[in-house]
Symmetry: C2
Subunit: 498 residues, 2 copies
Amino acid sequence: MNPRKIGVTEVALRDAHQSLMATRMAMEDMTGICEDIDKAGYWSVECWGGATFDACIRFLNEDPWERLRTFRKLLPNSKLQMLLRGQNLLGYRHYEDMVVDKFVELSAENGMDIFRVFDALNDPRNLEHAMAAVKNVGKHAQGTICYTVSPLHTVEGYVEQAGRLLDMGADSIALKDMAALLKPQPAYDIIRGIKETYGEDTQINVHCHSTTGVTLVTLMKAIEAGADVVDTAISSMSLGPGHNPTESLVEMLEGTDYTTGLDMERLITIRDHFKEVRPKYAEFESKTLVDTNIFLSQIPGGMLSNMESQLKAQGAGDRIDEVMREVPVVRKDAGYPPLVTPSSQIVGTQAVFNVLMGRYKVLTAEFADLMLGYYGECIGERNPELIEQAKKQTKKEPITCRPADLLDPEWEELVEQAAALEGADGSDEDVMTNALFPGVAPGFFTTRDEGPKSVGKTKEQLEAEKQAAKEGASAVREPITYRVSVGGRSQTVRVEPA
Amino acid sequence: MNPRKIGVTEVALRDAHQSLMATRMAMEDMTGICEDIDKAGYWSVECWGGATFDACIRFLNEDPWERLRTFRKLLPNSKLQMLLRGQNLLGYRHYEDMVVDKFVELSAENGMDIFRVFDALNDPRNLEHAMAAVKNVGKHAQGTICYTVSPLHTVEGYVEQAGRLLDMGADSIALKDMAALLKPQPAYDIIRGIKETYGEDTQINVHCHSTTGVTLVTLMKAIEAGADVVDTAISSMSLGPGHNPTESLVEMLEGTDYTTGLDMERLITIRDHFKEVRPKYAEFESKTLVDTNIFLSQIPGGMLSNMESQLKAQGAGDRIDEVMREVPVVRKDAGYPPLVTPSSQIVGTQAVFNVLMGRYKVLTAEFADLMLGYYGECIGERNPELIEQAKKQTKKEPITCRPADLLDPEWEELVEQAAALEGADGSDEDVMTNALFPGVAPGFFTTRDEGPKSVGKTKEQLEAEKQAAKEGASAVREPITYRVSVGGRSQTVRVEPA
């Protein structure tokens, strides 16, 4: 019997550097390896969306649309894949439907093939328009289940959610485990459930992070259950808060009834490339290698460090344990949302407020909106007392409709706003960039001409750092004032490298 | 149905620090956590043997027998486990049978419960006396299969090897994957084969390193195949060239038909303890996180770095690729030994010689001995031409008997040797220490009174290093001479911290 072919989505160009190095990788560190990636035999190459759009204009003075066009050119044989936050697109608010249409059209025109569409609350109403937009432009619409764990989340519930995504016309279902909480057995059960309910030919893609150390096993059981495609990152861009190593997946399947068909020689070339690149961004890396605490607290690593810095800013760095015990309370009151951007920040910040000021003495504006339904529906009932309190505090009414239904058409206004900006080129892409990040785009437009600016260290800088570490503290590299004795007389002198 | 209980051997106290930090962990960094380890519910605690004996006297001025007695006292409810290199004991030559008996007796008297006995060549004749000695003192004799990959190694072959170990009276079989080469499917097949051939109640322990990133999946499939006990290291002492994280194993099994029964609260305490300890030994750590090259080259990481430093010493650091291609040639000529101490060094060094001087222009003394049978038999036929060459070069005859059969009784002589040493206390333990490491023990005996010396950094040193890194190079911490201009006049001055 021929082994069944398992597709692989390589995430090195998007989620891997987003998870490992705060999305800082410059395009110049990716272009040189695209040919090998293009020919390695991946099912798709995730290379855009998520936080990369924001990071491009905020940190790298790089036009994200240009990045997409470059990938399209350099990866002619690959399906390009992006992560899209449903009605939020790549921004942090809901957009009116026509803006969603426009964004999807532009992405497709610039080269995107596969749209992985998700909503942080798993509210299908926040996905359906984006899914329809992708179908309209004839591209691959991947409906996403954000995996989380709570007393209300069940295998059956996830299987039903997959059904709703298929009803939207999803070409495939992504099981997205952003916090590395998905254990092997539930993965097996959910995937079996989807396949048995909706047919064995229902395509299922599995996306796991590796933070808890168990999810390569999860991918194995997912494959045994019938998963069609899994996400991995080349080993030199893997592990920790990132993903499982691509080469390990390939080797793991040897001798089984499954194979990836990936070209190991290419993988080694890709690995060696990023082995050189990764140290350039060391300053952005988290120290976490494996953390099974997440299973107990259900608090993803990024959320924890956020809360810690909030507490420290308030001089309460020692109260993190209280906050960690408060998070489950807040999450329950909010109806058990998955903890992923932006719900993780909303729940986490409210937990910090509760600990510092007393439970629900003050609601953050975002938490109040969450309680009033402005982010959509959660799986569980929200605490009615808190809904009342949110109402009073914000003078806003709770809503039950799809949040985006409250929005008026805004595209024309967005066009006008962009037209007024210095450096904007009048393209729809620029309108969209400004629509998504109105606080950042205007500045970016004025500096765009200067071209991309890498924040990675150069080879020379890394070499100099190494040298400095070797020399230890015996060299002066910045001006410094010393008390020095010359010929028995003590003087204060300033020393600096000549 | 109740889930099947999977035993866990915690390796933090032995193989984890041997693999991650060159066996340097001082006893003072272990004693404080023994109570939690003792009560966590492990099947056994590996804490002695392997390279720890050597490291104790060579680097830590610590009596290894005292270390064993301390563990016995601090882990009263645990089965203590050690790794024993068959007829080599913990040293690097074959010992006469009575010395083997004596070593096992002393280890048992001092507190050892489970002896994992292996031979680098998988030659059963090198194990049988040690196994019998363990049975004689009424302890647990674990017979070991060293897993490797070659055209001659088959699932059936490993199953037969297990049979030979069971014939020796093995209480359990260890499947030992020191190079992280054991993929999920072969693990499944070998374990199924053993269980089906010799009975489902044949106890199988699985030991995997994590270097290639796939072996937690291997443990999953091993468990599904019926493995009874698996080896892991607490997460803060895991991964890279080490082992899979204990907590990840626990979590991985949730919802399956298997459970470890480990106490997660204790595990967290143990994890937090070693989280503090590990940075103290950072200078000994390898940079390798995951490396699937091993599957292609079959050269374990430790062996590679050895060969690299040999090449560099000869000014041929750029010829490592040639050596890596030469290793399979040498391994084939030697009859496909597993690559593990000492065969990895013997094969690796010969490959270096071949590249530098021409293939087999010179045989190393050890490679000649290997070819002549002085280390035992390999699975494959050895190259007859090279046997001839080894004969000529060494003036030694090839042997086919058990190597230790050539040895005369030596215990009395070893007693006399030790008696002559300053600082030796007349105990059999001291005789054994000197017998195992005659080049190191005499020095150790003279300094033993000074007590153990940790090579780990203190908290204060780590703090100071951090501070220094923060201050960067702007501070002078050691006297240094500069050319300095004061008031327009240039002078040479010496600067030092005031």
